[in-house]
Amino acid sequence: MIRFENASFHYGGENGTGEGVDNINLTINDGEVVVLCGTSGCGKTTLTRLINGLAPHFYAGDMEGKVWVDDICVTDSEMSATSKLVGSVFQNPKSQFFNIDTTGELVFGCENQGLDREEIHKRLIKTQKEMKLDNLMNRNIFELSGGEKQQIACGSVYTASPSVYVLDEPSSNLDRKAIRRLHEIIKKIKEEGKTIVISEHRLYYLMDLTDRFIYMEDGYIKHSYSSEELSLLTDEDLMAKGLRVTDLSRLKRGNEQGEVKAGTPVIEALDLNCVRGGNQIVDIEKLQLPEHGVIAVIGDNGSGKSTLSEALCGIGYSEGSIAFKGKYLTEKERSQKSFMVMQDVNRQLFCDSVIEEVMLKSSIKREDAESILERLGLKDTIERHPSSLSGGQKQRVAIASALCAGKEIIFYDEPTSGLDRGGMERLSELLREMSGEITSVIITHDPELILKCCTHVLHIENGVVQAFYPLNEEGVTRIKWYFTSESYENYSKKRKKYGMFGRVLNYAGKWKSYVYLAMGFMITGAVCGAVPYYGIYNLLTKLINKQPITLDNSMFDISMVLLFGLLNALTYTFGLRLSHRAAYHTLENIRINLQEKLDKQPLGVVHDMGIGAIKKLFNEDIESVEIMLAHVIPEGFSNVIVGAALLILLIGIDWQMALFSIIILLFGIGASKQMYNVGMDKMGTYFASSKRLNNTIIEYVSGMEVVRVFNRDALSGEKFEESVRNYRDFGLEWYKVCWPWMALYAGLFANMILYSLPLGAFLVILGHISVTKYILALCVSFALGPMLIHTLALIGTLPRVNYKIQSVEKAIDRVALLCGEEEFKGENHNIEFDNVRFSYKGDEALKGISFVAEEGKMTALVGESGSGKSTIARLIAHYYDIDSGNIKIGGQDIRDMSLSNLGKEVAYVSQELFLFNKSIKENIRIGKPDATDEDVIEAARKACCDEFIQELENGYDTLAGVAGKKLSGGQRQRISFARVLLKDSPIIVLDEATAFIDPENEKKMNDAIEEIIRNKTVIVIAHKLSSIVKADKIIVLNKGKIVGEGTHAELTNGCEEYRKLWNAARASSSWTLKGGKYDDSYDA
């Protein structure tokens, strides 16, 4: 029980502001959940501090009255006594941890209580279980997301098991998932009968848990609401009180916003890649942000929002090209034109007064700066020190400094975390006002802010653009759904940090040791390659010292030269052999790995990659690993090591010549580094164009037939030519920027001797060094040159290799389908869609679809093209994972089944049939691999294709490749029917399966279909409404929503959309009537 007895507290001491709370009389009973709410500065945080004793024990001030927790007077007793009863979770995850590792943090409270190790261990295990922290044990706190940090904070309080929990704005840095998790944690603690006091701005997630909301104003308790009472308040009431919404579903778009205009793009990013610590964080093919927009960037913590915005505004490294207003800019230029208001705004205030701050490094006049400050409501603070301002004011000072510097794009990193309703409203108003001049990009988890002021929403997930849409009516439903929907739990993975080499070596697996071994051999080889120069030096010194060179006295040197030359060749070759063995085995591993991963990925996603891209992936891209493992790592490293050793040797011989060589070397390295940098810049576009070329070639070849028939040569040829031209241009551009640097470093390295020769001679003449030393130094330079050239040639390939390896990794890392291992165990074969949402390439294809297709009945899906019919069909076959909702068969979620088990239940027949190049018989047998020949023929007979198959050259044994050309569309279709018949699965999905109907086949086709669908759950998609008139249930779709459901008779009366479709179908059948050929088929 917590009891405030006429408690007052005012902050005092040296930085005391005098703010505080007055005359608090409050009793909170055991097991109660109490939320303190009110505007910023109303005293709610102070109340929490009075409970956990921080005020007055840590924050100095004037204290009157008493606060009791159970039977301890918090105001009088030591903090350590209070800390056993009261556990605290704070707002800022950054500053509430004492330890760096999670486990240490979880047990910290217990250690302070002096519990023994066994007890602590017991509690730790309990916390781990109850708080679901399995994935977060033994981690570095710095690598956790905000939500996970907050989980650890709650967990560590839980381990200490106090009777009172005090949470001070725990949700302010959290994303939607983390808030839901926090909700679960609070629920759990409540169930254990603990008392919980939460000071919070966001109220919606606490509505179902809270017993009492205590509303505070200016340090006084004004009112106490129950959940019901609070939820009855209208938005205006809440706003007047400075409270945030209580129910997200009631949120509306701000009326003040005008129509959303489609602006010209202000930021354009192409092939953007950001890699941090060896992990690809952002991978965006194309992104355009409209000018003068207020763009909300949403997505879960760790999805890459911050990394993306840092890359866009030029303070984070990225690959690919980014243009502002159509002009490609470098990182530095971008950072000059943009600004980011950081979450921790303290970091960006540099000066002693506000006016100095905003005028720093800008050429703006003082009057103009003052008028900008006035506009932002900062007029009174002009001379104040920025650090004395409130959080919201500091934020506005930062914005003012951006405006004064004439920035065009301002990024905001979670600007409303910790802001109350008023602050949020003020900010959104400001953003709306400014949208006339600048573009704002806001990373946020705050639906209220988004609906108040944003014009567009950019949704990032796993570093990929999930969707980009304007915030119109539809956008509002979508964003509300995003913030309210349940979604899957996921935890950040314990990321391992690898450089490029580390990643490649990882793929090598057990062959890694071969690579190291190869490196060893090559180092030996390189050393052996350098030794002969010593022999040459010996010979030359003899010559210079005017000793006669006889076979006797030079035998040793000569044989040494020969021997080491031979050894060099041998060890080097052997090393190469080893490294190639490792490399090719690794290639095998990666290819198999990639194939396995592709198998598990959503089929649709794999299709979207395009055959060209996949082929390139398997062939060229993976092949580049060979360069890495067989050459760059062993050869490059050994050359670098031995080269460095030689250089050090050179220093030993003569420091002046060495210094000179080092200077030249540094120049050369500088040049090659420059080449690497500019090359990297252009590499992205270069590869994008090669990817495009690849796909165009394939399109060109596969479309050749159509092109010729319709005489569209010119058009498709143009596209082809353009791709080729683009590829040439980008390739040339890449070479153009690299050329000068390449020439420079090659010149510097290859002719190292050229520079050291005259210098050495000069030194000899001056008498600084002896001739013998000069020669030795020259010999070392000779040995050094080729090594450097070789190494640099390898380094030159790195950008390209790196890029290719990344694209392979991207394909491997793509999210796999959610699949369980279960067998089918549904009680029947009803297909049930429950509020299914699914978006495809940013467009929402299904917007909350719910229906049931019953067993033994035929359900037809109709609608215009693009209404989502085929999507539904593909989802039943689990081609994609849905965004939310459930698809169940007989009550079992299809995601729990493995793909092959699902395949046993569902037969999906599309209009295209793929025939493997095997005999027709084998092709039919694919439906059921263990079927006998008789079964196959029987199925073929039922599908009415026995007849024409018999007429083929070799009957059932004709190769499909040969027969394929002779078969008509209808015949091929019937072969696919035969497959399905053979498979005999209880669910049949016919996706436009009657598309190839022709009059003479008509009856046979219908017979075949009759045969297939007998006693099955059938889903039919048909353009021709006539063919589904008899369906048990017809579902009418429009733009991803169900607009009508019922039988033909019901729908023709009740559903506008269906009537429209039906009339259109009637009309078109009446045209064909005049042709006189197809008339019968429609009314059949």
Binding site: N52, G53, F58, Y59, E78, M79, S80, T82, S83, V86, S88, F90, K94, S95, Q96, F98, N99, I100, D101, T103, G104, V107, F108, G109, C110, E111, N112, Q113, G114, L115, D116, R117, I120, N140, S156, E310, C313, G314, I315, S335, F339, M340, M342, D344, N346, R347, Q348, L349, F350, C351, K361, S387, A405, K407, I651, D654, W655, Q656, H768, I769
Partner: protein, 250 residues
């Protein structure tokens, strides 16, 4: 950014007691000021590299050993080279001396920071019965290092937007202003972090009079004894015996 402070010891070969690490650190200090022979420092540094390997930081050890080797090599070469201008000679000798004698101190500090968890610190300090009033500030100091790194990272980004450049030229031309730009934001954001951190620590009952327990086990093992004996041996050899020998010769 690299935040591998206070890392785990997953791939370490042996567990070294934090107290030993502190002894090594103190030993480095003694070596740095009291050693009269290069040899002692070199042996000590080599030992440190070995300890790094034992703690699973193979690459750090290798890199530092190589760096040390090159420095020593330069030192030897220059001592024996003729014709080098005395200015350069002096400069390089001074640099390499600073490096050589600074090496153990820096390395042992790195050893503490990179391989010890905060909870181990606390446990070790308690084990040697330091008063809690002394432990807290030291622990907070170590806890604060990664925060400073983090803050600095943020401030640098903020500077980029404001066109503030931290370059040697700037530092030489406008030393005070540059320092001001660096320090003001660092201080203000650090102060707030610091205050919240201290509050959080207090609220968790850190300043208790009850004897703190520790979940983390710290034990002085065989490895620790061997290391300490080696350490004392080297220090004694370099300071006392080395000194005496030198004095004897002179």
């Amino acid at each position: 950014m690299d935040l591998t402070f206070y890392g785990e010891e997953d791939n370490s070969l042996v567990k070294i007691d934090p107290r030993t690490k502190f002894l090594i650190f103190i030993g480095s200090g003694i070596m740095c000021f009291a050693s009269y022979s290069d040899l002692g420092v070199i042996i000590y540094s080599a030992l440190l590299c070995v300890i790094f390997v034992l703690c699973g930081k193979k690459f750090t050890a290798l890199k530092s050993a190589l760096l040390l080797g090159v420095m020593l090599y330069l030192r030897v070469i220059l001592k024996n080279s003729q014709g080098a201008p005395s200015v350069i000679l002096l400069l390089v000798t001074a640099l390499s001396t600073v490096f050589m004698f600074g090496f153990p101190t820096v390395m042992s500090l790195l050893l503490i920071i990179k391989t010890t968890k905060i909870s181990q610190f606390l446990a070790a300090f308690q084990a040697i019965h330091l008063p809690i009033k002394l432990i807290i500030p030291i622990a907070v100091f170590f806890r604060f290092l990664p925060t400073v790194a983090d803050e600095w990272n943020g401030v640098r980004k903020a500077m980029a937007f404001r066109g503030i450049v931290i370059s040697p030229v700037q530092i030489i031309c406008h030393p005070w202003r540059t320092i001001e730009y660096m320090l003001i934001p660092m201080l203000f954001s650090s102060i707030s972090v610091m205050e919240e951190l201290a509050a959080a620590t207090m609220a968790r009952g850190m300043d208790t009079d009850v004897k703190r327990s520790s979940y983390e086990k710290v034990r002085f093992g065989i490895v620790d004894y061997i290391l300490v004996i080696l350490l004392i041996g080297i220090i004694v050899f370099t300071t006392i015996i080395g000194h005496a020998a030198k004095g004897g010769i002179m």
